[in-house]
């Protein structure tokens, strides 16, 4: 049961990580990994 929840959560969280990274990186500072920083700090 827990394993199933892990899969479900990850299937939601992983794309969210991707979308936030892309959205931040596309708008700001191409030379600095601000998108990853944003994802790490919000997580």
């Amino acid at each position: 049961m827990s394993a199933l929840l892990v899969v479900l959560g990850a299937a939601l969280g992983a794309p969210a990580r991707y979308v936030v990274d892309k959205a931040v990186t596309a708008r700001l500072t191409p030379g600095f990994p601000l998108g990853t920083l944003a994802v790490n700090l919000t997580g």
Binding site: V6, A14, Y18, K22, G43
Partner: protein, 134 residues
């Protein structure tokens, strides 16, 4: 119904496959992390499971990027699937931070914070060296 000129259709066409493979990869990576956590439970001491997940994940991501750089035309979904998906799901920054703050011993917390950072950095450097990248 969207037409070809509809910007939303372009958005789905551009990011849709990536989102799908990242979701699948994230599920696999997170499941693997869950397995490591079950195998290596830590009761207030050094968070070995999280430490290993982050260090191993950094080494493998470093290796993956070296390998992809060496390929002439890697499939565009390989990096999102393995990097953002599987390894992103396997590693964790949030648990790293929570682990650090919730240690009983400040000494263990400091060693964990510095040790994870140093070993993860070292993992990426080692992977790049093994791959012939400086």
């Amino acid at each position: 119904m969207g037409t070809v000129d509809d910007p939303d259709v372009g958005l789905v066409a551009e990011h849709g496959p990536g989102v799908v493979v990242i979701a699948a990869g994230g599920a696999l990576g997170s499941l693997a992390r869950y397995g490591v956590n079950l195998a290596l439970p830590h009761a207030g001491g050094f968070p070995l499971a999280t430490f290993l997940e982050n260090v191993v994940g950094c080494f493998v991501l470093g290796a993956l990027l070296v390998v992809l750089t060496g390929l002439r035309r890697p499939h565009r979904l390989v990096r999102p699937f393995l990097g953002t998906g599987v390894l992103g799901g396997f590693t964790t920054f949030s648990t790293y931070a929570v682990d650090a703050v919730t240690r009983d011993s400040p000494l263990v917390a400091a060693g964990y914070v510095a040790g994870t950072l140093a070993a993860s950095w070292g993992g990426v450097v080692l992977a790049r060296r093994l791959g012939g990248v400086r």
